[in-house]
């Protein structure tokens, strides 16, 4: 990876709050922004929980549809 590429990469991470950087003299030090990562993980987890709950309800609806289809004697086989 080129230095320019690296800078760009770190810049994106920094913008997303995943790392923080500090420049001392010629050296720029990066630190993992743990907070950003935790927030990101928490956000993803909430997203996942919503969808998992949704899909659990979807399962119930779908099972009902399957039963109905069966008792209708598979009117359509395609």
């Amino acid at each position: 990876m080129t230095l320019t590429g690296m800078k760009k990469h770190v810049g994106v991470l920094e913008q997303a709050g995943l790392v923080s950087t500090e420049k001392v003299g010629r050296v720029r030090t990066c630190k993992l922004g743990l907070r950003g990562l935790e927030e990101e993980a928490a956000w993803i987890e909430r997203y996942r929980q919503l969808w998992a709950a949704r899909f659990d309800e979807l399962d119930i609806v779908v099972e009902e549809l399957k039963r109905k289809e069966k008792s209708n004697g598979r009117k359509k086989t395609k």
Binding site: V12, Q15, A16, G17, G36, E39, E40, A42, W43, I44, R46, Y47, R48, Q49, L50, W51, A52, A53, R54, F55, D56, E57, L58, D59, I60, V61, V62, E63, E64, L65, K66, E69, K78
Partner: protein, 169 residues
């Protein structure tokens, strides 16, 4: 013999996986134990869709659910939570029976989010892939901190308030 008291309707629970694919995209995958035409029906008939889209455990009341599932058709969901109500609405961009649905989410502050759902049947089961593409990097980036798109933020607040009894942050 295995006797299930809770619900015989869910013999096995499949895993829900959420991945952030890029700065603008989130993808949710889940297998459903039914053929694609059955799953598709549950996504496209309002009277079925409304039964599962708002999980009971989230304490939301779905006041109305209108879906005109065809290309260019609109949908509108109205929810009530305590004193306030909120609306989710948009337009269907693609409708391919038993296979693919694409719609816009037009209620957000940041512009349209586009949701693509694919139904991929294999051996009687259907792999669902729900792909959300946000209008900008900022719209989703901000989603991981404070300022998510309006709809998600409201949802998020809601989840936080509902979840606060069980966990504290």
């Amino acid at each position: 013999m295995d006797v299930r008291r809770q619900s015989e309707a869910t013999p096995t629970t499949n895993r829900t996986v959420v991945e952030r694919k890029s700065e603008r995209e989130v993808v949710v995958t889940r297998t459903v134990n039914a053929p694609a035409h059955v799953v598709f029906e549950a996504w496209t008939k309002a009277e079925l869709f409304r039964r599962w889209w708002t999980p009971k455990s989230y304490g939301l009341t779905l006041l109305s659910c209108d879906m005109d599932v065809r290309v260019g058709g609109q949908y509108r969901l109205v929810f009530r939570h305590e004193d306030s109500s909120m609306e989710f609405f948009g337009t269907y961009l693609e409708v391919i029976p038993h296979s693919r649905l694409v719609w816009t989410n037009e209620e957000g502050d940041y512009g349209q989010t586009v949701t693509t759902v694919t139904f991929d049947e294999n051996a009687g089961k259907t792999l669902l892939v729900v792909h959300d593409r946000y209008p900008s990097k900022e719209a989703l980036d901000s989603g991981s901190t404070d300022a998510m798109p309006e709809a998600l933020r409201q949802l998020d607040e809601l989840l936080a308030s509902l979840g606060s009894s069980t966990e504290k942050t």
